[in-house]
Amino acid sequence: MQQHKLLLAALAVSLFFMHSTVSLATDSNSVKQQSWGNLPIQIGLSGLFSAGGSSADNDELSGLQAGGHDPNRNGFTVQNVELSLSSTVDNYFDAQANLIFLIDTEGETVVELEEAFLTTRGLSSGLQIKAGQFFTEFGRQNKQHPHTWAFVDQPVILSRLFGGDGLRSQGARLAWLMPVGWYSELYLGAQNANGETVTSFLFAPGEEVAGHTLQERSANKGSELLYNARWLNGLDLSETVSMNIGFSGLIGPNSSGADTDTVIYGADIYLKWQPLRSQRGFPFVAWHTEFLKRDYDAGDVTDPSHETLKDSGGFTQVLWGFKPGWIAGLRYDFARANGNTATDPQRDNRTRISPNVTWYLSEYSKLRLQYNYDKTEHLADNTNHSLWLQYEFNIGSHAAHTF
């Protein structure tokens, strides 16, 4: 009964917002484009919010919706307000910074330097260097900012292996556009391994991973960095079908012991069909799938509690843009781990099925309604239902249409 009430309430809220946001979109998007068009700096502000509810209570939701930008409580969530600045620095570099603002479950406003980096403009031999603070080149989803996600929340396996905020850190990476007949790019990167945005590595001392308390571990040796490789290929299979296929790997120290490492590897594929005749990019069908595995050395070999934690999972999602502005989506998420994991919200057997519908009112605003059917082991009620309505605005510079 409780569940039904919640779902009804969420539906009522969604209908309310369907109306009010439509009028908001036409009244308040009064950005003077003139002033952006020729400015040497591109400035954009994107606001992403959600309203909804779940059969799980707010405490339980923090385990179910573990992503830092996921809707994570019954009621309203400010998922992500992102200020993005980018420009050409000079003849040698382009630069970009993304600052994010959000309001956490305690009601505190949080500001984060999500990314700030330089990229080179014209190195020879197909090389490009990026340096600063940035999302690690791993898979397709990790680098995407919340306002470009196809679902209201991030895949379960990414929250587990990369933490709530996605895997990002300070460092540098080299990208090489390989001299072959198709698009093939090799990324090699090194980033700092400590902090709360690299949870599988030198995460905050005192935190626990599968019962192993993390310790202070000095990351002052050159070897104590996070090393990353990614090989991405892009092919046009026909005039209407394009594909990306990538393989990624990561290795770095973790703080469950003095000499313990974590290895994560994964594969991702993205296929998109769009007929030769299409209006505003519609119709289309896009299929995106990723698999990830983690081997986490927990505790030093000399430690009696030493074990290797093995986690794996993935997601597969299909988007169907059935008419201009309208997209229907379906995602299947799964994650599992070895050992006795039934009570651990970050390692239990988990599956989630998420159908959604997104309506882009214009290129600058959208509404999205998503239902999550969640199966967990760690909650007393193994099955949970959630319904979220998401709404977004973009003002300032034109957003990029990336593949």
Binding site: T26, V31, G234, Q279, H401
Partner: protein, 303 residues
């Protein structure tokens, strides 16, 4: 195993050996630019259009295969006026080819070579829909602009590849001659349209209207890029009847339900035109584009 490795290495070598560097590599954002470049560049250039003429170039995506093309380009031709704003900047950032970045000899924005129409005069807000602040970017639909574009492309080809300067100039002269002759023919075909009030689907046909002397008085879209609403279509029905508007012109990539609805209610005739080279089978160059537009409008207007 050994033969496999050798075979692999051989494949990689084959793929990496640069294909005949003699021809200038030209990448264009649309097929119209590619067609004009081909007409003046002839065999001395290799042209590749990043988007097909059957899709709206504003809504393309920066696909990885495009990165490869931009990386290998000697010259990039673009429509400009924010037409490619969504996808060309990220593509140029990934393309790591400083030769084709803005301000360099390999970057040619053709919107700077023509006079843009429809430049908003008052303050612009996004409440007005997809308004291009620098002016309407569909300028290739006036064949007179085609002459200017061909001229500008030729000048750039000559600067980048002076060895073939004579050939480029010759091709330009012949292209301009053919186009000028054809323009007279199209003008003659479309004379009955002169002064007529016409409805378009999107604000994309003002150059075509200017070229052939008809007036676009309204659009099927209530605001540029905003899907037609029932209220707007009803208002259009009244307008079509009041002003006795006979013809609705639209590009082939738009939905045709709204236009058919207006036709059912008012009997207005619909001309579905190719807006670009490659938009329909059989349109392989810039002259064929206007041949087809003229024939289509003639049939739709039944004159």
């Amino acid at each position: 195993m050994k033969t496999f490795v050798i075979a692999c290495l051989w494949c990689v070598t084959l793929l990496t050996v640069p294909q005949s560097q003699a021809a200038l590599q030209i990448v264009t954002t649309t097929e119209d630019l590619a067609a004009i470049a081909k007409a003046v560049g002839g065999d001395h250039i290799k042209v590749h259009s990043l988007t097909p003429g059957s899709r709206d170039p504003h809504f393309a995506q920066a696909k990885p295969s495009m990165i490869r093309k931009v990386y290998g380009a000697d010259l990039l031709l673009l429509i400009g006026a924010d037409m490619e704003i969504g996808w060309l900047p990220p593509l140029l950032r990934s393309g790591r080819n400083s030769q084709v970045l803005p301000g360099n000899p390999g970057y040619l924005d053709l919107s700077t070579t023509v006079t843009l129409l429809g430049k908003p005069t008052g303050p612009v807000t996004r409440d007005m829909g997809d308004v291009h602040t620098q002016g309407n970017p569909h300028y290739w639909l006036d064949p007179k602009n085609g002459l200017l574009m061909a001229q500008a492309i030729t000048e750039r080809l000559v600067a980048l590849d002076p060895d073939h300067s004579n050939a480029y100039q010759r091709n330009l002269a012949s292209f301009q001659q053919r186009l000028t002759d054809k323009m007279k023919e199209w003008q003659a075909t479309l004379t009955p349209l002169k002064g007529d009030k016409v409805i378009a689907y999107h604000t994309s046909l003002i150059y075509l209207a200017t070229a052939f002397g008809f007036q676009i008085v309204d659009e099927v879209e209530p605001k540029p890029g905003i899907a037609p609403t029932a209220a707007h279509l009803n208002r259009l029905i009244k307008r079509i009847e009041d002003d006795q508007i006979k013809l609705l012109i639209m590009e082939s990539y738009y939905e045709q339900r709204s236009a058919k609805f207006l036709q059912d209610k008012t009997g207005i005739r619909i001309g579905v035109i190719p807006q670009s080279v490659g938009a329909m089978p059989g349109i392989g160059d810039y002259i064929q584009l206007f041949d087809t537009i003229a024939t289509t409008l003639k049939q739709a207007g039944t004159f």
